[in-house]
Assembly symmetry: C2
């Protein structure tokens, strides 16, 4: 296994160099060339209680076309509207598509900030390179997204838990059925005003540990945010749901390593009953794990804020059987998913081999204390109440 | 490994039953409800020598909309033209997409026949069920494709090696960013007149045996014709091309089992130097191998036509190291890919661990004798010169 992983990492390096040669021709993405075609009929914001994740969109979208000879065209902000594509376009047949998800928040001083957009841009470029779609300058796209938010700033919802969800997307648009490198692509960004993932505070979920369907594999693309990783995971979710579990806890290999949950990274907290020391653990980035921005933030904040005499923070392999055994010994403290949509998502039960592993929650509550603490740390930075390096980047001023 | 595979097969069964419940609501696909909106400006056929695979399309396309409550809408044949879709449509973000590839041929009595369309329809339904897109009645879609060919029959090219390539496709069209079961879908079929894959007879290819990138895995979707399986394979192909190899020979697992080549199934022929007996071998359908219609046809025809005293026809695991060792002993006879586009694609060299394994060809030719023979068997059935059960199905009459 370790040998395999080393090979995957090696190959990613060789890929990157091959692709960087192929996609550096033509014009670079350039935010200074932005053209704005404003929506003549601006909408009024929906009441906060009517916001459903990813169901309504703002008045504008950003689009940038790319083609192999000329590079990136001038970026355009225009009214939100349909894409018109040839039915032979490669996005429809061979899944030349990738996306990102990030959020913008209103700060106490009436500005709008994005949370760690540089991390999303970096990952988006990695996803693009992996499927031979064009790469771009991170800072230029951040500027352009800032302009898009500025254009629709009246639609960024106010209030704790409310935000503007941003969906940068790139698709291959080459018309023709040959399976080859796209020579045309479209980068677009759409925005959806969203409320808290859990309307009435946390709601802990039940997971089914899944070994019969496999989300990702060494030498595959499970660490990239490609459309290809998502459709195949819905049927196992329906299957789990038919047995009363909301999401899959994805296992890997004969060892039954824990990898991710649903479309999120996952963390477990244990206490060693002999030493009394606690451990927060998540799977290592070995090519099969999405490089989650929230995952990275949780690890960083835990390392900064938790007392190292009390806590070890580890990225390591761990198995469903370790979880089961440690739960039986009373050593399982908490478990939660981490991702942009929910930030953290507490877990209360895990079905495995016909039995449920119980994950402790605070009495009368829907999360454990660490899960709650982590959510608070992140929200404080996202909403601009706590400063943390450059994690919160101001992109628009409503004053 | 074998235990894993058994679980995958079991789970596919449980998936299918769960999905059949979910997708039987509403109207069935019904060819009798076809509406035809003819193209007012029919095109003239391109000269045969200008036909490039999947680059030009006929005058019409078939579209059928589906939604969760109502089921299948009335099928429509209309002028070939763009799809208009919301930028949040799930096909762009989560790869809710699948396709088929099959061909229609002119027969000596001036009819048009499709080659084994029932096999493609069966596989298309399996692909749809695996990613929660709607299923349909095979016969109804075959009838509809027949009507589409009829509509554009003047564009079905004549001549050995020429055919009409048909591309049935299904995409999820639900607008919205929630990762869940699509409640809207579009089935469409487009047609491209195509020439022989190798314009001047066979051209044997050089492959690079690839173990650092993995096409498919147990518990994944490598046996389904999903867009998700294609985009991730382009970069490894570019990588191989940079070293002078046209395609990847996909290996799997620590054993380095041979699975597929590029986007085709693959066959190897060996001779046992002790017994003198020959063997034609391809990987078994264990959930990681595309269930190729050409693969199935090659196996069936080889079992019918080759003398069992001289040939064993086996679906079994075999490794790149077996190929290397048997080549060194003079036991490697031939190797070829099989797929709808090229039918058979002879292989002349395989790069592995820094060396090339040579695959014998007929002196002065670009294939071995069995490869040539297999291509002839299939072409004779496709073009209606040989009858083989219901493999060649008449769908239009030009008389």
């Amino acid at each position: 296994m370790l040998k395999n992983i080393a090979r995957v990492q090696m190959s990613t390096r060789s890929f990157t160099s091959a692709v960087s040669k192929a996609f550096t021709e033509g014009a670079a993405l350039d935010a200074s060339k932005l053209e704005i075609n404003p929506n003549a009929a601006p909408s009024t914001p929906l009441p906060n209680d009517q916001l459903v994740f990813g169901q309504t969109f703002t008045d504008h979208m950003l689009t940038v076309e790319w083609n192999k000879g000329k590079g990136w065209s001038n970026p355009v902000i225009k009214p939100y509207g349909p894409l018109v594509l040839d039915p032979s376009a490669c996005v429809f047949h061979y899944a030349f598509e990738l996306f990102e998800g990030l959020k913008a928040y209103r700060t106490p001083d009436n500005k709008i900030a994005m949370f760690r957009p540089d991390m999303n841009m970096k990952r988006m470029n990695k996803s693009a390179a992996r499927i031979c779609l064009p790469t771009f300058d991170n800072e230029e796209l951040i500027k352009l997204i800032g302009k898009l938010i500025e254009q629709d700033k009246h639609l960024v919802p106010e209030g704790q838990g409310y935000s503007l969800y941003l969906r940068p997307t790139m698709i291959g648009t080459t018309a023709g059925l040959g399976v080859s490198t796209p020579d045309k692509a479209l980068l677009f960004v759409i925005c959806s005003p969203v409320g808290p993932y859990y309307k009435t505070g946390f709601k802990a979920v039940r997971l089914e540990a899944t070994d019969y369907a496999t989300r990702a594999w060494p030498g595959g693309v499970g660490d990239k945010k490609l459309g290809a990783n998502y459709a195949p995971c819905i049927l196992p979710q329906l299957d789990a749901a038919s047995r009363g579990y909301q999401q899959n806890l994805w296992l890997f290999g004969p060892e039954k390593n824990i990898t991710e949950v649903g479309t999120m990274n996952v963390f477990f907290a244990f206490r060693d009953s002999k030493t009394g020391k606690n451990e927060l653990v998540t799977a290592p980035l070995d090519g099969t794990i999405l490089e989650g921005v929230t995952r990275d933030s949780v690890l960083a904040l835990a390392r900064e804020n938790l007392d190292p005499k009390e806590w070890d923070i580890n990225e390591r392999y761990y198995t469903i059987n370790e979880v089961k055994e440690r739960a039986a010994k009373g050593e399982l403290l908490e478990a939660f998913g981490s991702g942009t949509a929910a930030v953290v998502s507490p877990i209360k039960e895990i079905g495995w081999e016909g039995q449920d592993i119980n994950v402790p929650l605070l009495p009368g509550e829907q999360s454990g204390p660490l899960t709650k603490q982590v959510a608070q740390w992140i929200a404080d930075i996202q909403y601009g109440r706590t400063k943390h390096g450059n994690w919160s980047q101001i992109v628009a001023d409503l004053n």
